[in-house]
């Protein structure tokens, strides 16, 4: 008894401004959950979408205050240094919020078309996004793991959300088994790193490694490698990508959009923090591994996509190829590299969500018209929709005057600045291979042998989302200045 009386639990100071986005997302998710449980009439999809959109917009408002707080007081950590508030996390939050906002609108129209009642999609998407937000702000391996799990568990359910298609359930099971495996590997890696450095806190790890020489680095290396594998699984880097085409194909299309955007933001943000903030001193050790990973990811992603006829599988491989480019910025290990990966993720997310919005539309009721042949003549029948998809694909291809060009440009610049000329060349040649399947898709859009096919109805919200994707692609493709400067500022305070 005496022992209990003298031991006081020290509650760490909490800086609520830093936690607000995560709390709001969780809160919104819980509110929706409670509403659907307690309110007698089923919570209509309109309410769910409304609350999700409001949550995302609230996060954008917080971001404004967070950004000005950082501008005045500098970046800070809170909750016993487990959560960090810096420019990098603010931008990550904004990208996640925008991606969720766009995805929720697409899902809204999709749910109406598929007659999916209730708020389940939005509850899970909000919770998943909260996990991604946590990963973006995490400064501790345990918190990263927490975020990763929250992100993943929501997605496991979302992937299997379409009960009418057996492939959806199959994909969910695949994703769950392999994802669980990857999580286990990740947490084991975290444990080994803890064993080697005495802390799970990224700043402490960095401090320890900066001030001590690790004489027997085996434990540290093993831990780092396992962490890297965990991340590689989440971003679908080759050879840890095998799940991604099946899951992309099986998942309901709006969910695929969420996976391609929000998961990438969260995973890359955390990966950058772990490799560059915490293990920055071990650059020479993890760089060669990443070198191989980048080459495999770029080349395999681009080459295997060539033989795909299903556009969702095609986009899965395309996003593997894009992940290779994002890893390029990580490989460079410099402030420029971090900024370039941030720029890449930030511009890729809205474009890919908009692409999946178009795929959702063409998929039709039942969500299974995903052969490339279903796109024949689309741009002839519906010039706006087809033209929009062409712009989005050109952006992913990396054509100039679309933002995709500057995304590729910035990661390649960072790589070359860090002395990776050969790596950059392999990556950009893989983009030339990738150009082949994007162009073949665009050719199908503009084929004039099937002009009389059926027109698809474009619902209001989905149309807006596609428009936003196209505007992002073109506006920042012509004028990337502000985003580039923003990313540069965000990473200035990032490095220890």
């Amino acid at each position: 008894m005496n022992l209990l009386a003298t031991t006081t639990l020290v509650v760490p100071s909490i800086h609520y401004l830093a936690l607000l986005p995560v709390l709001t997302f969780f809160g919104a998710s819980l509110v929706l959950l409670l509403m659907s449980a307690l309110v007698n009439t089923k919570v209509t999809i309109n309410w769910a979408t409304g609350i999700t959109v409001a949550t995302a917009i609230a996060t954008l408002v917080y971001a404004f205050f967070q950004w000005s707080y950082i501008a005045h007081h500098g970046s800070t950590t809170t909750v016993a240094h487990a959560i960090v508030l810096d420019g990098f996390s603010v931008i990550g939050n904004v990208v996640i919020a925008v991606s969720l906002l766009l995805s929720a609108l697409v899902a809204h129209d999709w749910a109406k078309r598929e007659r999916v009642a209730g708020a389940d999609f939005h509850i899970l998407a909000l919770a998943s996004s909260a996990g991604a937000l946590l990963m973006v702000q995490a400064n501790d391996l345990i918190v990263i793991f927490l975020g990763l799990e929250i992100l993943s568990i929501g997605l496991y359910v979302l992937v299997g959300f379409d009960r009418h298609r057996a492939t959806s359930a199959e994909a969910a099971l695949k994703y769950f088994l392999l994802g669980g495996f990857a999580s286990a590997i990740f947490i084991y890696g975290a444990a080994l790193v803890y064993g080697a450095t005495g802390s799970t806190n990224l700043s402490s790890i960095s401090y320890f490694l900066g001030n001590n020489v690790v004489l027997r680095p085996g434990l540290l290396y093993a831990g780092g490698a396992l962490l890297l594998i965990g991340f590689a699984f989440k971003v679908a880097a080759v050879p840890f990508h095998a799940w991604s085409p099946d899951v992309y194909e099986g998942a309901p299309t709006p969910v695929t959009g969420v996976m391609a955007s929000i998961v990438k933001v969260g995973a890359f943000a955390a990966l950058l923090r772990v490799l560059i903030s915490a293990l920055g001193t071990q650059l020479d050790t993890w760089r060669p591994i990443l070198f191989v990973l980048v080459i495999l990811t770029c080349v395999v992603g681009a080459s295997v996509a060539l033989v795909q006829r299903n556009v969702k599988r095609l986009l899965a491989y395309s996003s593997i190829n894009q992940a290779g480019f994002m890893l390029l910025g990580v490989w460079s290990g410099s402030a420029r590299g971090v900024a370039s990966t941030l720029f890449y993720v930030m511009t890729y997310a809205p474009v890919v969500v908009a692409t999946f919005a178009v795929v959702t539309l063409i998929g039709g009721t039942g969500d299974d018209l995903h052969s490339i042949d279903h796109y024949r003549g689309l741009a002839r029948r519906q010039p706006w929709l087809g033209g929009a998809l062409a712009v989005l694909l050109f952006s992913q291809l990396g054509a100039p005057l679309t933002v995709g060009f500057y995304a590729k440009y910035s990661v390649l610049a960072a790589t070359i600045d860090s002395g990776g000329g050969a790596l950059a060349l392999v990556a950009i040649l893989s983009a030339a291979i990738a150009a082949f399947f994007y162009l073949r898709w665009i050719l199908a859009l503009y084929a004039d042998d099937d002009v009389e096919g059926t027109r698809v109805h474009v619902p209001l919200f989905t149309g807006k989302v596609v428009a936003v994707g196209v505007i992002v692609a073109i506006l920042f493709g012509v004028w990337p200045g502000p985003l580039a400067t923003w990313c540069q500022h965000a990473t200035m305070l990032f490095l220890p």
Partner: protein
């Protein structure tokens, strides 16, 4: 110095025209009229720039109309334009190609889109020639792929899809090397100087580098430009692309876009890496000579007129490359002039082939015979264009090829000697093709074709005038080219070329 507003207009006017054409697409024929109007304005602007151009602006080497604005410092992105004697002719050619391609190859299928893409392509090509910043050049160089791709894929022949893909992928892969080279150079410059990332051409010219770095960078640049030109062995995309493209597209591709390759080689590969030249010169010269011989030989055996011109272009581009790489001033001036002359001649060829195709529905040599009888004016104009291409004295082709060959003999006699046989071969394949197509007795469909109508004749007038004028009196043009070439030579080989 003159105001750079003219150059901005040269880039913006066609782009605005393209948007306007897209907006009025519902009204029959209006987009075409808008396109022609825009092309006329563009031509007028190009001529104004050509006449105003002053090579003796203080502290600007031979550049005029100079301006530079940094758009994004972290990316090193800038809007930086200027004109000198080397790009001046290309600016005029770009405007001319647009005008004649529009007037000579009206395609009424989805006309507004066709006009729009053609105008967009002109804007991007113009911007590439005007760029005085390497990154800016790259962006527009790469951007020209998109409209070209749509023009080929949307209005081309039976195999258009394959041709468009092949064209895009080849050029895209080639420019991958260019981008890596540009970035490497930019960072090398940044690390040597104040730490500001810039891709300004004049700044990068002073980058210090070792011999082997220069060689590698030269190779990276040269691959992109050799694909675009095309130079053997990077030419394999070009015949199918030129043949499958619609007439307007073939004109744009071979008369204009190919010049982006040789222009880039001269301005950027040679201008930025003079250290690499002693090593690379024999290699590129050899490739150029192989291009000349290979292009000529295949042209002899080719079964259709479009491919014939395509392969003859491979040979002509070989001559241009020869002139660029020898390092002699005369040859370099000749190369710049040939870039323009070949452009004009190719416009003439493709227009007439387009007119033949319009009448006969085919440009296969075996389908055509004795066209001279029913269409004497067409035959006469074809003869003029053909003779200029062969290099008959008094016509434009002669002046430029002559300058190139004299210069080459002065510095690289053996290469010059072999290249000269290409002139003979050109006479062989062109005259032989002429015989088969225009001589003999016209029968069946060939006998009933009509001669060129009023409009078609007028479209060819500028071509013929330029061929004659530059053949007899090239001095005003040469006077504009020479100072800039002199500056470039001075930078590249101050001590003269090692024979």
């Amino acid at each position: 110095m003159h105001s750079s507003i003219y150059l901005l207009l040269l880039i913006v006017v066609p782009l605005a025209g393209a948007l306007a054409a897209a907006l009025v697409r519902k009204v029959q024929g209006l987009a075409y009229a808008l396109g022609v109007g825009t092309a006329l304005v563009e031509m007028a602007l190009a001529l104004i720039v050509a006449f105003l151009y002053n090579p003796h602006v203080k502290n600007a080497q031979t550049y005029d109309f100079v301006t530079r604005h940094v758009l994004s410092a972290p990316f090193g992105l800038a809007y930086d334009v200027a004109v000198d004697g080397i790009s001046l002719l290309m600016v005029v050619l770009t405007a001319l190609v647009l005008l004649l391609a529009l007037l000579g190859s009206r395609d009424k299928r989805r006309e507004a889109a066709f006009v729009g893409w053609l105008l967009a392509l002109t804007s991007f090509t113009m911007a590439s020639f005007l760029s005085h910043d390497v990154l800016e050049f790259f962006i527009f160089f790469e951007l020209t792929l998109v409209p070209s791709y749509f023009i080929i894929a949307g209005w081309g022949g039976a195999q258009r899809a394959k041709a468009a893909l092949k064209f895009f992928i080849y050029t895209f892969s080639g420019s991958a090397f260019l981008l890596i080279g540009i970035l490497y150079l930019g960072f090398a410059h940044q690390h040597q100087t104040t730490g500001v990332l810039t891709f300004s051409y004049s700044a990068l010219q002073s980058t210090g580098m070792t011999h082997s770095t220069a060689v590698w960078l030269f190779i990276a640049f040269a691959i992109a430009f050799a694909v675009k030109s095309p130079i053997w062995p990077f030419h394999t995309w070009s015949p199918i692309t030129y043949a499958e493209a619609p007439t307007g597209g073939s004109i744009e591709l071979s008369a204009l876009l190919a010049k982006l390759g040789s222009y880039g080689l001269l301005r950027f590969a040679v201008g930025l890496f003079p250290l690499a030249l002693p090593t690379m010169r024999p290699i590129v010269l050899t490739l150029a000579v192989i291009s000349i011989l290979y292009g000529s030989l295949i042209a002899c055996a080719t079964p259709d007129l479009k491919r014939l011109v395509a392969y003859s272009s491979v040979a002509q581009l070989g001559f241009i490359t020869l002139g660029i790489m020898t390092g002699s001033k005369i040859a370099m001036v000749g190369a710049v002039l040939l870039m323009f002359n070949h452009g004009v001649i190719t416009i003439g060829f493709f227009l007439i082939i387009g007119f033949i195709e319009r009448r006969r529905g085919s440009y296969q040599i075996k389908d055509l015979t004795g066209l001279q009888g029913p269409a004497p004016v067409m035959a006469a104009l074809f003869t003029i264009v053909m003779m200029a291409s062969i290099g008959l004295p008094g016509l434009s082709g002669f002046v430029s090829e002559y300058l190139i060959l004299i210069g080459t003999f002065g510095t690289h006699a053996w290469w010059g000697a072999i290249a000269t046989t290409g002139v003979l071969a050109a006479a062989a394949y062109l005259l032989w093709a002429y015989q088969r197509v225009f001589h003999g007795r016209a029968e069946g469909a060939n006998a009933s074709i009509t001669d060129l109508n009023f409009k078609e004749r007028w479209v060819l007038v500028p071509v013929v005038v330029l061929i004659l004028a530059l053949g007899v009196f090239p001095k005003p043009v040469l006077d504009r080219i020479s100072p800039s070439v002199q500056v470039l030579i001075h930078h590249v080989a101050p001590a003269g070329v090692n024979k």
